[in-house]
């Protein structure tokens, strides 16, 4: 399965991609903001992991646009962000993310969230 990892921090992209490789997912593509992610998203992407605060297009806006596309309506989207107040979490849910990870995170949390969403991705 191919993962699209979206974060404006190159450090975070590497950490997420290394975490994915460690739990057995080595097929990844990365983007530095929502606009770039939209350009790189295609039907081969089976899972999206996105940050919230990014230049040009935020993670929530990217999620909304992706959800409006036929090829992105069902793809699992996991938001990984430093934002963690209740209103933010609700806003992310409304935008269409399937689950939410608060930074800084542990690889265990990432694995749990991906495992929980994978049946949805396979369906």
């Amino acid at each position: 399965m191919k993962f699209l990892v979206v974060d404006d921090s190159a450090t975070m992209r590497r950490i997420v991609i290394n975490s994915l490789q460690r739990i057995g997912f080595s097929d990844t593509v990365e983007a530095g903001d929502g606009q770039e992610a939209l350009a790189k998203f295609d039907s081969s992407v089976g899972f999206v992991i996105t940050d919230w605060n990014m230049p040009n297009m935020s993670g929530t806006d990217f999620t909304k646009v992706l959800r409006s596309r036929p090829d992105g309506a069902q793809v699992p989207i996991l938001m990984v962000t430093a934002r963690s107040v209740k209103e933010d979490i609700l806003t992310a849910m409304e935008a269409g993310v399937n689950n939410y990870i608060v930074k800084p995170f542990t690889p265990q949390v990432l694995k749990e969230k991906i495992d929980a969403l994978l049946p949805a991705a396979a369906a």
Binding site: D7, I15, M54, P55, A82, S84, K103, F105
Partner: protein
């Protein structure tokens, strides 16, 4: 109304009052220039005009004191929050450095252990495999500790945005006293415009478990309601 909005309002009121005083002084000046022949009559009115000007000046001074207090209050509040953020940056950096150094120490011990296993006449391959697994865990832990960089960069961007805002407020005050200041470029804004969309003002490295638990609780509750 926030303290910063109040400060801005008071600044505008002060500026309006200063303009009124300017107008009064202009009127007074024109009376003397254009009505030279009516000097005697003008002199009779002078105490009244001076009294009015005095009242206006007192009003302006009062407004300026109020604006100073409002500015001081909002600026101090913002600067205290920024100061706290910068302290957290220092603390997060130190925590990450300590975590990485601890992991380095443990990794070094594991490498020593591997050397000992290799030096044996019959190396225990199974044990060596387990040690390598632990070593990989330690290396991975070091990488995870670097997440502080993303969060502290957001905190520093927030501090930078507060400094730019403070500069704008000081420029607004300067404009009240010197109209030429309005044309002067803003050094901080020119040198470093902060993209507000790239950071969360509340970003923190503290209590990730508690914050994750809140997110999980909300998702579970809302999914339960929707089901």
């Amino acid at each position: 109304m926030s303290s910063s909005q109040r400060a801005q309002e008071v600044l505008y009121e002060s500026e309006a009052a200063l303009r009124l005083v300017d107008q009064e002084l202009l009127d007074l000046h024109s009376v003397h220039r254009e009505e030279h022949r009516a000097v005697t009559a003008g002199l009779a009115d002078l105490p009244y005009i001076l009294e009015r000007a005095n009242a206006q000046i007192l009003g302006v001074l009062s407004r300026l004191r109020e604006s100073r207090a409002a500015l001081q209050s909002s600026a101090v509040e913002k600067l205290q929050v920024t100061h706290e953020k910068l302290r957290e940056v220092t603390s997060a950096t130190e925590d990450a450095a300590i975590n990485i150094m601890d992991a380095c120490d443990r990794a070094t011990q594991l490498v020593d252990e591997l050397d000992t296993i290799d030096a044996a006449s019959e190396p225990d391959r199974e044990k060596a495999g387990a040690v390598r697994g632990t070593l990989r865990d330690e290396l991975f832990l070091m990488m995870g500790a670097l997440q502080f960089q993303d969060i502290t960069s957001q905190q520093l961007n927030h501090a930078s945005a507060v400094l730019v805002e403070m500069e704008h407020r000081l420029m607004d005050v300067a404009k009240l006293f010197d109209t030429n200041a309005a044309n002067e470029p803003s050094p901080l804004t020119m040198a470093n415009s902060v993209d507000m969309s790239t950071f969360d003002p509340n970003a923190t490295t503290r209590d990730p478990e508690g914050r994750q638990a809140l997110a999980d609780e909300i998702f579970t509750a809302i999914r339960g309601t929707a089901a």
